[in-house]
């Protein structure tokens, strides 16, 4: 299996992280698009954000880029903010979900179609 072998011997680069990020991101998107459970959608969002975070960290990592000898903090800082905001978002979304559950007795988002045009 040449690809696996090369994965083990070659150094890891930004592209590898990007691929992992892409996988997480797409999983998140698919999760959002397929789950009928509001909390499932919330999990999808977490995955999406996480995928983005992987990218941010990878792009900001001196180990991976190997082009600048200096410490690069921008990517990590962005990731920090994303994590914090994700927490905030989770709190609000959870609150909305609970509220929705209280009102409708269900957390099936397909029922929440009162905005239908």
């Amino acid at each position: 299996m040449p690809i696996l072998a090369s994965l083990l011997t070659e150094p890891i680069g930004v592209a590898h992280y990007m691929v992992v990020g892409a996988v997480l991101f797409v999983c998140g998107v698919v999760c959002m698009a397929t789950k009928r459970n509001a909390l499932g959608i919330l999990m999808g969002i977490e995955l999406v954000l996480n995928g983005a975070n992987v990218n941010l960290v990878a792009l900001g990592s001196p180990y991976l880029r190997g082009e600048s000898a200096t410490l690069m903090l921008d990517g990590q800082l962005m990731a920090m903010f994303v994590i914090v905001l994700a927490a905030a978002e989770a709190a609000v979304a959870l609150a909305i979900a609970l509220n929705f559950y209280n009102n409708f007795g269900s957390i099936d988002v397909d029922r929440a179609n009162q905005l239908k045009g």
């Binding site: 299996m1 040449p2 690809i3 998107v29 959002m32 698009a33 397929t34 789950k35 009928r36 959608i41 988002v109 397909d110 929440a112 179609n113 009162q114 905005l115 239908k116 045009g117």
Partner: protein, 777 residues
């Protein structure tokens, strides 16, 4: 070109034409014998007994079997008596490759000559001749072999014709089924005539002869599709096949006329006078295509003529090989008996179009090749999409055939001469295998509908597992890391490598599609082939009554299946211990000057890459892995839906119902053609016939009446329809537009997510189409 390099007692220049001519004429002899021996008693009012009919089957089988032996003898003579071309091996340095391609720039060994002349006018001559090169020999062996297999198979499959037959497709007015005498010998007669015609097509030394046999295989196909001519659907399908083919032949005639009028010959080889190829690619021009040979004054006209000739010829191939837009006849052609579908409508006749493009490869300008590639790409995608939704097991295979032919055309159009023809050969084996397996299934359960099958692998294991081999071969199953696989793995990889190579040298994003479509096609192929296999052989029996009556086919049929399965596995391999393989044989026939990277004249940014470049590792490895991933993905999807049943097919159909309906109705091509061509033709014919009737009437009278009518019609149309209608129409349009937009607001959260993704992808596609660096980052 006569090659006199070998003065051995068995001079191939004389032995090969004789051997192949005998192999060619033997089926004709069988046809004639059966005709005389079995039709004369009929003329005297009697009928050939069924015992005699069985003899006819043996006679025809013996004839084609002998042909097969002769063809193999010819192949051996060819391999031993002619010096092989140095074939550039796969992984070589650029310098060695350069040297190899320079060496390749000489005409391949071939023998051409004339059996007899049909007519001669001054310098113009039309004759029955031969042109024998490695391609001819390979195709000869292929066709005779598959034809022999089908002959043997048919002895089992058609045995119902050996007694008075009850046709269950036709109900008579009194409520019974239609009874008729069996036509066993007739079937073999048609098969023999077909074999003769097909071999003549392969042996043909000039395009006129190709055209004649082209029509002959067409008429044999007509007879065989219409074998059950009592069924209206069969006679309709036969007509459709022949007429649609004639539409292609119309284009082919134009190509023939252009070549004939400009070059004064239609010969492939040089017998006495220079043939087409050596005129168009003369040695003086280093075998490059030289449009000036077309002989008119301006270079543009020459190039145009050459383009017209190429596209015209290709039109013929579009008809015969059921390419878009003339693909509609092939699925209907499945009305014929299944062995016929295996022989005529998958392995040989429909591949003749691909063969002809390969044969006439030297005359195609890059723009014509682009046309071929585009048609191929459209066809392979279109047919694959239809195959996913079909339930008739033979129709799935028919659409799969169209799709695979599209692959071959695509490969040829992108410069992959050997790749396309290699796929032609491998496809012939595994597709005939698949058809014969489906025939075995139909023979057992007496239905074509896959929804009535299921679980049959317990009842007919041989059929099931040989068919599994066929399915694996067609999806190109193999292990890329080890470089081993079934035959389809090698040939499909070669095509995708060529597409990859083409997409690398042509950066314009439109050309990239020619790489993505075959890759996507590979996914769909795997999906529908395994859908077929899973639906037929796994799961629970859908119809227990049919299941209980199912049984393994007789030994003559199963034996053929096993033989073909062996070929389907191994035909892509090298002969152990030598460099000899189908590809190396094909390389010996590669037309001079076609292993070059060429660029278009009208489209200067169109580059058709040298085929050997596609074997470079930086192309071959990613292409191979992508193809592998696609095939596995398709297989997985089929398994998800039909084995593990995570997804339910009915639900998918429902939520994609517009697309599903589009596919199920084969993109409405039949209806479209009916409206676009058939009805207008009938109207026109009524019109012409009507003219005749009214010539007698006073012409002026008619004119006056016509004028009055026209005035009234104008009043009606212009005043009422146009003026009032346009205002109302505008209003309605606005209303409808608003309505249709409002439907987008579904209120469904998950659909919004889907919209976002679609928008993202659309944006990406739009940007990458306009800005070629978008994909490259």
């Amino acid at each position: 070109m006569q090659s006199a390099r070998h003065s051995t007692p068995m001079n191939p220049a004389t032995t090969l034409p004789t051997i192949l001519a005998i192999a060619w004429l033997l089926p004709l002899a069988a046809f004639a014998l059966v005709w005389v021996g079995y039709s004369l008693p009929q003329m005297a009012g009697g009928r050939a007994s069924y015992g005699a009919q069985r003899t006819a089957g043996w006679l025809a089988t013996g004839a084609i079997g002998t042909s097969c032996v002769l063809a193999i003898v010819a192949l051996i003579i060819w391999l031993t008596q002619t010096a092989p071309h140095e074939v550039a091996t796969v992984h070589e340095t650029a310098a060695a490759h350069q040297a190899a391609s320079e060496h390749m720039a000489s005409p391949p060994t071939s023998y051409s000559g004339i059996y007899y002349t049909l007519a001669q006018f001054g310098k113009l001559r039309i004759s029955i001749g031969y042109y024998i090169d490695a391609l001819t020999i390979a195709m000869f062996a292929l066709v005779t072999l598959i034809s022999t297999c089908v002959h043997i198979y048919s002895m089992g499959y058609m045995h119902e014709e050996l007694e008075d037959m009850v046709d269950r497709e036709i109900a008579t007015p009194d409520g019974n089924y239609y009874h008729r005498p069996g036509r066993y010998h007739r079937f073999y007669q048609y098969l023999s005539l077909f074999s003769f015609s097909m071999l003549g097509l392969l042996l043909a030394g000039n395009l006129a002869m190709v055209f004649m046999f082209w029509e002959l295989v067409g008429i044999c196909s007509y007879f065989l599709i219409g074998f059950y001519f009592e069924r209206p659907s069969a006679s309709y399908a036969a007509n459709k096949a022949f007429i649609v083919n004639r539409v292609g032949d119309f284009g082919m005639l134009i190509g023939l006329m252009a070549l004939w009028s400009c070059l004064g010959t239609l010969d492939f080889g040089d017998s006495n006078t220079p043939g087409m190829f050596s005129q168009l690619r003369s040695e003086a021009h280093q075998y490059e295509l030289d449009a000036a040979a077309m002989g008119s004054e301006s270079a543009d006209t020459n190039y145009l003529l050459l383009f017209v000739a190429g596209v015209g010829l290709f039109c013929g191939c579009v008809g015969k090989s059921a390419q878009f837009p003339l693909h509609t006849w092939l699925p209907d052609a499945m009305e014929g008996p299944t062995p016929v579908s295996a022989l005529v409508h998958s392995a040989t006749m429909v591949a003749a179009g691909v063969y002809l493009v390969g044969r006439c490869y030297p005359i195609f300008v890059p723009e014509a090749l682009l046309v071929i590639a585009i048609v191929g790409a459209i066809t392979l995608t279109l047919a694959a999409t239809i195959a996913i939704t079909a339930y008739d097991i033979k129709r799935v295979l028919a659409y799969s055939t169209i799709s695979q032919l599209g692959y071959m055309m695509l490969a040829l159009g992108l410069g992959g001469w050997a790749a396309g023809l290699f796929h032609l050969i491998t496809h012939a084996f595994f597709k005939s295998l698949l058809f014969l397996c489906s025939g075995s299934v139909i023979h057992a359960v007496h239905t074509n509908d896959m929804r009535q099958m299921g679980g049959l692998r317990h009842k007919m294991p041989w059929t099931a597992y040989t068919m599994l081999i066929g399915c694996l071969a067609i999806i190109g199953a193999g292990i890329p890391a080890l470089g081993i696989g079934l035959s389809g793995y090698f040939s499909k990889d070669a095509i995708i490598e060529q597409a990859w190579s083409f997409a690398r040298v042509n950066e314009s994003s439109g050309y990239q599609l020619l790489m993505w479509l075959p890759l996507g096609g590979a996914f769909i192929t795997a999906c529908y082939m395994f859908r077929l296999w899973f639906m037929t052989f796994t799961g629970m029996p859908a119809n227990t009554e049919r299941y209980d009556h199912a049984h393994e086919s007789p030994r003559s049929m199963v034996g053929v299946l096993v033989l073909l399965a062996v070929f389907a596995v191994g035909v892509g391999w090298h002969v152990p211990g030598s460099k000899l393989s189908v590809t190396s044989l094909l390389e010996r026939a590669r037309p001079a000057g076609t292993l070059e990277t060429t660029t278009g004249t009208w489209l200067p940014n169109l580059t058709v890459p040298d085929e050997h470049l596609s074997h470079e590792p930086q192309i071959a490895i990613p292409a191979g892995w992508s193809a592998f991933a696609m095939a596995m993905g398709g297989l997985l999807l089929a398994a998800i839906i039909y084995v593990w049943r995570w997804l339910r097919a009915e639900e998918i159909q429902q939520s994609f119902s517009p697309i599903h309906r589009l596919f199920v109705n084969a993109w409405w091509f039949d209806q479209l053609y009916d409206w676009m061509f058939v009805r207008p033709a009938l109207w026109k014919s009524k019109f012409f016939a009507g003219i005749d009737r009214y010539v007698i009437d006073p012409f002026v009278n008619l004119l006056a009446r016509g004028t009055a009518f026209l005035a009234r019609a104008l009043d009606l149309v212009v005043d009422r329809k146009a003026v009032d209608g346009s205002i109302n129409g505008l209003a309605r349009l606005t209303w409808d537009f608003g309505n249709s937009l409002h439907r987008l607001q579904t209120g469904n959260l998950r659909q919004y997510v889907v919209f976002i993704v679609v928008g993202l992808l659309g944006l990406f596609a739009a940007v990458s189409l306009c800005w070629k660096y978008a994909l490259a980052g």
